[in-house]
């Protein structure tokens, strides 16, 4: 991958004796939408904080645009951040925050006005303290603030967690509208795999602090197949069984394909139809394994 925006190299991190991340490595290419997917406790938020230079990894490092973010905090000026645990000052309203961002040089006067317009469009009261907003409204506000400086890299940590369907759609509209206008690179940490599949071009699968997969979403999905076997004892050729689930008419089996030709001929010989699994099914198989 030429000139990746983000490189995570053999990154490990522990809270005291509790190892949270263990040798995580992946890269994020420019202008891609990468989803960092993982179940609860996988270490997504910790990884995001390491990526942003808030936490120091015990081993490995994180580079943004080729520079160690720990040593170059100013790189964050090129980032838009919307984190799960909001770090926006709860006592401030969006209007105050917009003024401060202008004062800090993060927003132009026009950007400040646009942020307030966006807030109004999203139905967010600009004069209400952020702490007084509902969780969904806060998430929207975070996203709006993250997008306002028109960042080169957007780091989103569960931006739709606890957000109702309507607000989620608004947030997605806002995000997609922004991505249409810019060539921003996105890293989205989420456990909402439906959303992830809808948006992602690349996926990083994180499980128990380890990276179990990273690469293009299509590649991930075509590396696996879903077949319904008559019994659990049936062996599979050209692939290995990752997960089984009893369904009507047999055992639904997720297979990691090692040899696509051998697997296809085996399916044909068995009279089985292999389907491409969804991201959720792959994730379920990987995380269960």
């Amino acid at each position: 991958m030429n000139n990746p925006v983000m490189e995570v190299r053999s990154l490990s991190f522990a809270y005291g004796s509790q190892q949270v991340l263990n040798g995580v490595s992946f890269t994020v290419a420019a202008k891609t939408f990468t989803v960092l997917a993982g179940p609860n406790g996988a270490g997504k938020t910790t990884l995001i904080r390491c990526i942003l230079g808030f936490f120091r990894p015990s081993t490995g490092d994180v580079r943004l645009w080729g520079q160690r973010v720990w040593d170059h905090p100013e790189l964050c000026r090129r980032l838009g951040i919307a984190a799960e645990a909001s770090d926006l000052p709860p006592a401030w309203s969006l209007a105050q925050l917009a003024r401060w961002l202008h004062l800090a040089g993060r927003l132009t006067a026009q950007g400040q006005a646009e942020l307030l317009e966006t807030a109004v469009r999203l139905g967010l009261p600009p004069a209400t303290p952020l702490g007084a907003l509902s969780r969904g409204e806060r998430s929207l506000a975070q996203l709006a603030v993250a997008l306002a400086p028109r960042p080169e890299l957007l780091v989103l940590d569960e931006p739709t967690l606890g957000v109702d369907v309507v607000a989620q759609e608004r947030a997605l509209d806002l995000l997609l509208g922004f991505l249409e206008e810019t060539e921003c690179t996105v890293l989205l940490a989420t456990q909402d795999l439906t959303l992830a599949e809808r948006l992602a071009s690349h996926v990083v699968m994180l499980h128990r602090g380890q990276c179990t997969w990273s690469g293009p979403l299509d590649e991930l999905k075509t590396s696996f197949a879903l077949v319904t076997l008559p019994s659990a004892e049936t062996s599979v050729a050209g692939g290995e069984v990752c997960a089984r689930q009893e369904v009507l008419g047999g055992i639904q089996t997720t297979v990691r394909i090692n040899d696509s030709k051998a697997f296809a001929s085996w399916c044909q010989s068995q009279g089985l139809v292999a389907r491409t699994p969804g991201l959720g099914q792959v994730a379920w198989a990987l995380w269960q394994g």
Partner: protein, 649 residues
């Protein structure tokens, strides 16, 4: 800069509530002023003037610590940091902004609290010289609040390291306080301690910066940096000051500012001195001087007691070897034996009360004679003289003195003790009589033998006693402080108590037993008269030396010219002259100005002293002036300044 101002505004806005606290306190101060007079006998202005500055200090200092603890180390503080870092603000900038906003708010709150006082007494809180130091104190408290909160929240095992370094810090600072207090004058010591404290304050502030810059919002990482930076910041300045001080003590001083006490060994080559060096530090110390090689070596012995009072050195030198005995420090019951040629020091613990002083050292430093004076501490116990084996502290002999004082003079054969008995407690405001007794202890004996007892008339307060062969010379003066304006009584006695010479000389006279007879010296007008008489009082020779007006002389016998006198001349200065009886004229008279740069305690109490043989260097008698040592060459009539070397006397 923009990021700094924005971050400053962020923290300022966030802690704006503190101004309400300041205003509230100010309001309470106003109420105190308005209603206080009903309960206390003070006017409102007086109450405001008293309470205002206190409120200012209390509020500013407390708020600095509280804001330090809240700004960066709590969950909320970590969120502030993450928010600012997320906006691309450097960690250092965020830290600096938090500190600046906290200091502005702390001072503003203090001013709000003190407003009534300022209204009543304008100019009460005028920013002056101490204001930067006050700001540094606030910053240090802020940093301490930050660091301690970070340490407490992390609950790390680093606490073990913290406790160890904290313990070492306490020891180091205590040692520094002791060292500074015992070697430097109180003003210099407190100034140096203050400077060291300011350095520590700066380092504590830097420790807070390092913790944020290196630990970011990572609690464990920050905790580690707290331990690495905070306690060393507290410990290192004390260690550095102690190390620097030790370095000064170890190396030979380039400058000696003043000499206050001098104890030469018999040959006159090795000297034990007390004085000051390093003028910028005014370091008081005991040191050794090799007159032949002109090398100095500082002894690691303090010069002040725990209260900062200068402690005059009481030492004695063995009659045959370059070994001296002295009290190592005030209140220490032990005695230090110092080799004047090498500086090797051993300590002897005689098992006597702390108020014990070395009085004499026997030949080879084998026997130590100690003066036990419990009345130094106000205890009404009898004084005594105790002779012990220096190596084993085994008691050899003792002499009960009751309320008397004792002075010792050691020769290779025997110890002679001058016992001075005052009929009542010495009091310089009254003229009292005294009785002198002479005792002798041969070094191989275990009992003191009384040689002589001489009562002095009641109005003679100070006396110099000299021994030579079978003779005792007593020159007694009526003295009022340094005002020696009254006659001097001169007696020469033999050991049977028979008075051989009895003369009354003009004020400020002196006398000496010499190899040729008794030398009498007295000033008259702008001349100093010298007269040599035999033991029957018959004049052998006499001369007058144009020294100018003098108010006291010291004498010496020299091979180059028979007699040398050094006289305190008026105005300040010293005149030296040499005289060889039989020659037509007296030798050269040299006058040198004497600059008093150093004030050791002035002995105004009436006293009796042994006249010791004057040390000589190459046949030139050495004189101790108020600021240094000089040698007078009677052959050439020149004065050579021995110490201090680098400045005129």
């Amino acid at each position: 800069m923009r990021a700094f101002f924005a971050s400053f505004a962020y923290f300022f806005r966030h802690h704006l509530w503190t101004l309400g606290l300041g205003a509230g306190t100010g309001f309470v101060v106003v109420l105190l002023g308005l209603f206080g007079p009903r309960f206390w006998n003070y006017q409102p202005k007086e109450i405001w003037a008293d309470v205002g500055p206190m409120a200012f200090l209390a509020l500013a200092l407390t708020l600095a610590a509280v804001l330090g603890s809240k700004s960066l180390a709590t969950n909320e503080g970590m969120r502030h940091l993450r928010f600012l870092a997320g906006q691309g603000v450097r960690w250092v900038t965020a830290w600096l902004a938090a500190l600046a906003a906290s200091l502005v708010l702390a001072v503003a709150c203090g001013v709000l609290a003190a407003l009534p006082a300022l209204g009543a007494l304008p100019g009460l809180l005028r920013p002056g010289a101490p204001f930067p130091a006050f700001l540094l104190l606030l910053a240090a408290l802020w940093a301490l609040g930050h660091l301690l909160t970070a340490a407490a929240r992390a609950r790390s095992l680093w606490i073990a390291w913290d406790l160890v370094v904290l313990g070492l810090s306490v020891l180091a600072w205590r040692e520094l306080a002791m060292v500074l207090g015992r070697f430097l004058e109180p003003g210099k010591a407190s100034s140096l301690a203050m400077d060291t404290g300011l350095v520590a304050a700066v380092l504590v502030v830097l420790a807070s910066l390092v913790t944020v810059n290196k630990g970011h919002s990572h609690m464990e990482e920050a905790r580690r940096w707290v331990s690495w930076s905070l306690w060393p910041a507290v410990l290192l300045p004390a260690l550095a000051a102690l190390g620097g001080f030790e370095l000064l003590i170890q190396r030979a001083p380039r400058h000696v500012e003043a000499i206050a006490g001098a104890y030469p060994e018999k040959s006159g080559r090795f000297w034990l001195l007390s004085g000051e060096s390093y003028p910028w530090l005014r370091l008081g110390h005991r040191f050794l001087w090799d007159a032949q090689t002109d090398r100095l070596k500082i002894l690691h012995l303090p010069t002040r007691d725990r209260y900062g009072w200068l402690w005059d050195m009481q030492a004695t030198v063995a009659p045959d070897l370059p070994v001296a005995a002295l009290n190592p420090e005030p209140g220490d019951a032990s005695v230090a034996l110092v080799r004047l040629d090498t500086g090797a020091t051993t300590r002897v613990s005689p098992g006597l009360p702390p108020e014990t002083f070395p009085c004499a050292l026997g030949p080879g430093g084998q026997t130590l004679v100690l003066f036990v004076d419990p009345q130094v501490k106000g205890r009404n116990e009898h004084r005594r003289l105790v002779a012990i084996e220096a190596q084993t502290a085994e008691k050899i002999a003792s002499l009960e003195l009751g309320r008397s004082f004792a002075l010792c003079q050691a020769s290779p054969e025997a110890l002679e003790v001058l016992e001075i008995h005052y009929p009542s407690e010495p009091d310089p405001s009254h003229e009292m009589g005294l009785e002198l007794s002479l005792w002798r202890l041969f070094w191989h004996d275990r009992t003191f033998a009384k040689l002589l007892s001489v009562p002095l008339p009641a109005d003679y307060l100070a006396a110099t006693v000299q021994r030579r062969g079978n003779l005792v010379l007593i020159a007694a003066r009526r003295e009022w402080g340094r005002d020696a304006t009254r006659d001097t009584l001169l007696w020469v006695l033999d050991l049977d108590g028979q008075v051989l010479v009895n003369r009354t000389l003009p004020p400020a006279s002196t006398a000496a037993l010499t190899s040729q007879g008794v030398l009498l010296v007295w000033p008259e007008g702008d001349k100093t008269h010298l007269e040599l008489v035999d033991t029957g009082g018959q004049r052998l020779a006499a001369t007058a030396v144009p020294t100018g007006g003098v108010f006291g002389c010291q004498t010496a016998e020299s091979e180059k010219a028979a007699f040398v006198v050094g006289c305190n001349a008026t105005p300040q200065g010293v005149a030296f002259a040499a005289w060889a009886p039989g020659r037509a004229t007296a030798g050269a008279v040299v006058r040198i100005p004497e600059k008093r740069v150093y004030r050791w305690p002035f002995k105004t109490m009436a006293s009796v002293t042994w006249a010791e043989p004057r040390p000589q260097l190459g046949g030139n008698p050495v004189f101790l002036l108020s600021t240094g040592l000089v040698a007078f060459d009677p052959a050439t009539g020149t004065v050579r300044q021995l110490l201090p070397r680098h400045q005129p006397l």
